[in-house]
Amino acid sequence: MSLFSELLVIIKSVLAQDPWALKSALRSDASWLLGFFVAFGGGGAIAFLYKRLPVLDKYLERLFMVCSYLSIALIIFWGVIDRFVFSNQQPWSTTIPPLLFMIMAWFGATYNVRLRAHLSFSEFRSRMGRTGQFACLCLDNALWMGFAIIVIVTTFKAVVLSASNFQIVLGTDNVMQWWFLATAPLAFILMAARVIENFTEDYSNFRNDRPLLKQTVIGGDA
């Protein structure tokens, strides 16, 4: 089968909402092609949306991060009160928070790509000329995009595997694990959008003689 016909099989399985068929279809190399299209196409579309709707640009990842963070704190805090005061404990109070942590971690990673807040040794880069700095920023963007494609594909496979096995969150009767896991490929599609945004910003800064490297601010805005 050609790469494009394998791609069609994947798309048909997605549309049919059949996790078993999708799991088999994703074994083909076309999954990487799909990942490439999703990262550039989806990421590009979201980057365009960010430009049109600045409120999304500013608050989309933040919403996921803050909601999941506060939910973790609330569930654990209430779990202790529930145990000591009411001699009771919800069985899901220790299984849902790790999944929320995963959501927060990957949306946080995405947001930090936009802020360029990931830890790095930038002493040599800051002493380079403009062209060197621009080349380094392009290298960062290329590596982030490559990594985003890999993770979109591989985590999507893990999500499909979880869905096809009907994995339920421990301590619950009907909460499916894949509902939470599906946020990881989504976070990496948003990361692809952030990479496209960063690249256009870097290119514009380079063309217009504006400073290329900025001081990272933890707690700053996108």
Binding site: R62, M65, V80, L115, A117, H118, S120, L143
Partner: protein, 452 residues
């Protein structure tokens, strides 16, 4: 070309990426992807692991919660009260303000669990006052950077949580084992600070007043209560470390909201210094409103968004290193040295050198599962070795070229990275001395543990 040669080339390539300023996360990810390709491993394992790391245990959740605690005590004004108390106790000594900032780091670390949060909070709060107080700005920035190292030794500690999670050790025992070594680190750095300030004549002296110490201690009661709550809960086994973190977050939110409400209702002036406040006014801190909480949480989420992905990718790197036989190689090398002390000091040297070029979280995730079994094999208590390992990893926060606290201190104080390096040397000497003492005297780490 053999696999070994290609992997060596990949390792050199990612080192070049690191030197070019590519984020550490991407450097490790590039290595993982490259090695997986050479070894013929499917990348699906990496994708699954990036999801599963967070799902493997409840314990790792303490990390984001203790980071949030740090931001909450900072925003509520509790951290300021703790530093006022530290200054009231130590201001009469030469270099008192610098020593107080180290003491404040210790107190802050006892509620939060993060080195960078400790450096950022205490550095931004006390650096301007130290400069005004006649200290060299480079020394002041170096003090904030060095003080932050205790953030991961004095419990609660993010890296102890990761260490316990990886090696399946009781995190509460690790926390208790860190208390005395952490206190020793603070004292050692204060001694170094005192000597440097004596030699340079830095700092203005204030007279020790019992009333001042008493009033600031009273004002810091919320901070002491939070410290007591964490230690009591963990030490008595009432809560797991994760639950202790959740309870502390809840306590800090309630304390912040109630304080703000009381200030508003009673019409108290929140801008007054502690000297101008009466004892009843000192009962509450500045606090924050409900509207402030998302902003505070966002800041913590951003820090977690840097550290948590780094943990996930480092776990994958560790798995590949195991497949490559790194564990066997290092174990053979260390055991080949023979004897308790050669092995112990060689392991410490590996941690120290790795800490110079890598962030402490990857150092812990990659090296702890390799070195801990070797140490256990020569008879080092696993809890004792965890403290030795992590004190060494914490020193890595102020060792160039990659000393995270140096970057944080440089960021919050505005002193250039390379300018403050020289002033960290006295603190490095003090910390290394304490590290050796902690390694040679297991009782320092083990004496406070419940009967084992």
């Amino acid at each position: 070309m053999t696999d070994a040669s290609v992997i060596t080339l990949i390792s050199l390539g990612v080192t070049a990426l690191f030197m070019l300023g590519v984020p550490v996360f991407l450097v490790i990810a590039a290595w993982v992807v490259g090695c997986s390709a050479v070894l013929g491993l499917t990348l699906d394992n990496m994708g699954a692991e990036l999801l599963n790391v967070f799902n493997k245990g409840f314990a790792l959740l303490a990390m984001p919660l203790f980071i949030l605690t740090g931001d909450l005590i900072n925003k509520s004004g509790i951290a300021r009260r703790l530093s006022d108390f530290a200054y009231a106790c130590l201001g009469w000594l030469r270099g008192g303000l610098a020593m107080a900032s180290l003491g404040a780091c210790g107190l802050f670390a006892a509620i939060s669990g993060s080195n960078s949060a400790t450096t950022a909070t205490i550095g931004s709060m006390l650096h301007p006052e130290m400069v005004k107080g006649g200290y060299d700005e480079r020394f002041s920035a170096a003090t904030a950077a060095a003080g932050g190292t205790v953030g991961i030794i004095i419990p609660p500690s993010i890296i102890f949580i990761v260490y316990g999670f990886l090696l399946n050790l009781p995190i509460s025992d690790l926390f208790v084992a860190g208390i005395l070594p952490g206190a020793l680190m603070v004292i050692g750095m204060q001694l170094a600070c005192w000597i440097v300030c004596q030699l340079n004549g830095w700092g203005h002296l204030i007279q020790f007043q019992f009333n001042r110490a008493l009033k600031t201690a009273f004002g810091a009661w919320l901070g002491f209560f939070a410290i007591g709550l964490v230690l009591w809960g963990i030490y008595t086994g009432k809560f797991s470390p994760t639950e202790a973190a959740g309870v502390t977050v809840g306590f800090c939110i309630i304390a912040g909201l109630v304080s703000w409400g009381v200030n508003k209702i009673a019409g108290l002036d929140m801008t007054k210094s502690w000297e101008e406040k009466s004892y009843p006014e000192m009962l509450v801190v500045e606090g924050f409103t409900l509207k402030d909480i998302p902003g505070i949480t966002m800041r913590s989420a951003q820090i977690t968004g840097v550290l948590a992905p780094l943990i996930a990718i480092s776990v994958v790197m560790q798995q590949i290193l195991s497949l490559l036989g790194a564990q066997v190689f290092i174990t053979d090398f260390l055991t080949g040295l023979g004897g308790y002390y050669p092995v112990l000091f060689a392991a410490m040297a590996i941690v120290f050198i790795s800490g110079m070029v890598l962030e402490s979280l990857p150092v812990t995730i990659i090296l702890a599962p390799i070195l801990a079994p070797v140490a256990a094999g020569i008879g080092v208590d696993p809890i004792h070795f965890s403290v030795i390992f992590l004190v060494g990893a914490s020193i890595g926060f102020i060792t160039p070229p990659y000393g995270l606290n140096l970057y944080v201190a440089s960021g919050v104080t505005g002193v250039a990275y390379f300018r403050l390096l020289k002033y960290t040397v006295p603190y490095l000497i003090a910390l290394i001395s304490v590290w050796i003492v902690v390694a040679l005297v297991p009782e320092i780490s083990l004496t406070m543990l419940p009967a084992r």
